[in-house]
């Protein structure tokens, strides 16, 4: 049973006709060509599919598209695209916080949700808690954590000059 579903993706209204039990992740990747979010474990353990729904980080592989009707979805593409990268993305490049890149979009989305809520440079433990739901099998996390610290510093600096 196909149905028309309306929601917002990366601040743009979006209308999609599909089965409402298709996962949000599949709709993003197959119907909307937004391929930053990845399917890895498919059961909410790895965070590669993380997106923001109404500014909260969730696993798009476990949300049915019918459940986001009239909601606001932000993917990694919505956090920033070249040349208008977010501070988090810039810092990931500067700090070399990416290796194979499969987990990176999910981590950037989680970091975005986390940094939206803090107005200081978070401690390593706070960053670790915020990233508890995102697995990376390449980097050992230290560069990722450093990148998020650097991004928080940039955010603060920008706030200071406004």
């Amino acid at each position: 049973m196909m149905r028309k579903i309306l929601f917002t993706v990366n601040d743009a209204p979006c209308s999609i006709t599909c089965h409402p039990a298709k996962t949000l992740l599949d709709v993003l990747r197959e119907d909307l060509d937004l391929t930053a979010s990845k399917e890895c474990c498919g059961k909410g353990e790895c965070g590669s599919c993380s997106v923001l729904v109404n500014n909260e980080v969730v696993c798009s592989c476990l949300i049915l598209v019918g459940q986001v009707e009239n909601q606001n979805v932000i993917t990694c593409e919505g956090v920033g695209l070249t040349p208008h990268l977010d501070h988090i993305q810039e810092s990931f490049i500067e700090e070399g916080a990416t290796q194979c890149g499969y987990c990176t979009p999910g981590i950037i989305v989680s970091a975005k949700a986390f940094l939206n809520d803090v107005d200081y440079v978070p401690s390593v433990d706070e960053i670790k808690t915020a990233l508890g739901g995102n697995l990376c099998r390449c980097t050992g996390y230290s560069k990722i954590i450093q990148a998020i610290k650097t991004a928080a510093e940039k955010n603060l600096k920008e706030l200071g000059t406004v």
């Binding site: 039990a21 059961k43 965070g47 696993c59 476990l62 949300i63 508890g132």
Partner: protein, 265 residues
């Protein structure tokens, strides 16, 4: 019926079920609330774990539930998963359920034609099994607020700190008197039996004498005998027994340290 989807969608993808019709209840705002009225705390089933963690009323009057919600998965799961879903899934390892046991929760179950109140101890029958009838749903979770001298703690052992399923967990709630004298208390273990269980023999010892280090160690030893774990992919029965004993002992120490440092809330 799908709420947070953290279990329902996984089961669909694994081919364990494929419902012809999904009823999405996630958007029903009337079932997402935390309030205190007529001397009881009411929690709507669609309240997320994040809602629980952030709520000041619960931090003060249902501390053990807040601690348990914090141990559920990681941020993504806490944002998506609902307390009604955690109850309805009825996993023997569900983290919020032991906390609801020691708080003495009562569930309101409704169908179109009926409404009934069921104490938590009568609700679960086995892994994934509850007394919920086909056309019923959980519509309210009612808990008596903790008193000023009532303190709780949730302890969990998982393979890693975040995002893990419990190998053993335990919730403790104590009503404290002067010094280390305990006036009453409840202890509930998760992942050591087909459902969450109360450790009634351990509970009986809580009030016998002041909770000295020696008494706490004894209570831990009793827990070793009282739990009935199985061996599965996550741990052996013997390991679970040892850990149940240690977690309870550690939980009681930590709780008493908090009581001695902070006193009444």
């Amino acid at each position: 019926m799908i709420a947070g989807g953290t279990d329902a969608a996984v089961r669909m993808k694994e081919g364990k079920w494929r419902p012809e019709v999904w009823i999405n209840i996630k958007g029903i705002h009337e079932l997402r609330y935390i309030s205190e009225k007529d001397g009881a705390i009411h929690i709507g089933p669609l309240t997320t774990h994040t809602d629980i963690i952030r709520h000041t009323l619960l931090q003060k009057k249902a501390d053990v539930l807040v601690e348990a919600a914090r141990e559920v998965g990681a941020i993504q799961m806490q944002n998506m998963g609902t307390i009604g879903g955690n109850i309805g899934t009825a996993s023997p390892a569900g983290d919020t359920i032991p906390a609801l046991y020691v708080l003495g929760a009562v569930f309101e179950l409704r169908s179109i034609t009926s409404v009934r109140l069921v104490p938590i101890e009568e609700f679960f029958i086995g892994p994934g099994k509850t007394i919920l009838k086909k056309k019923e749903m959980i519509t309210n979770i009612i808990i008596p607020p903790q008193k000023a001298n009532e303190i709780g703690i949730f302890q969990k052992l998982g393979p890693r700190k975040a995002q893990s399923i419990s190998i053993v967990n335990v919730a403790i709630s104590l009503l404290m008197g002067k010094d280390r004298k305990c006036l009453g208390g409840k202890i509930a273990f998760g992942a050591v039996a087909p459902t969450i269980i109360r450790a009634k023999k351990c509970e009986a010892l809580l009030t016998q004498q002041p909770l000295t280090d020696e008494i706490i160690q004894n209570i831990g030893k009793i827990a070793w005998k009282e739990v009935m774990p199985i061996t599965d992919g996550r741990a052996t029965a013997a390991y679970r027994r040892d850990m149940a004993s240690s977690l309870l002992e550690r939980g009681l120490y930590r709780l008493l340290r908090r009581w001695e440092n902070d006193g009444e809330k």
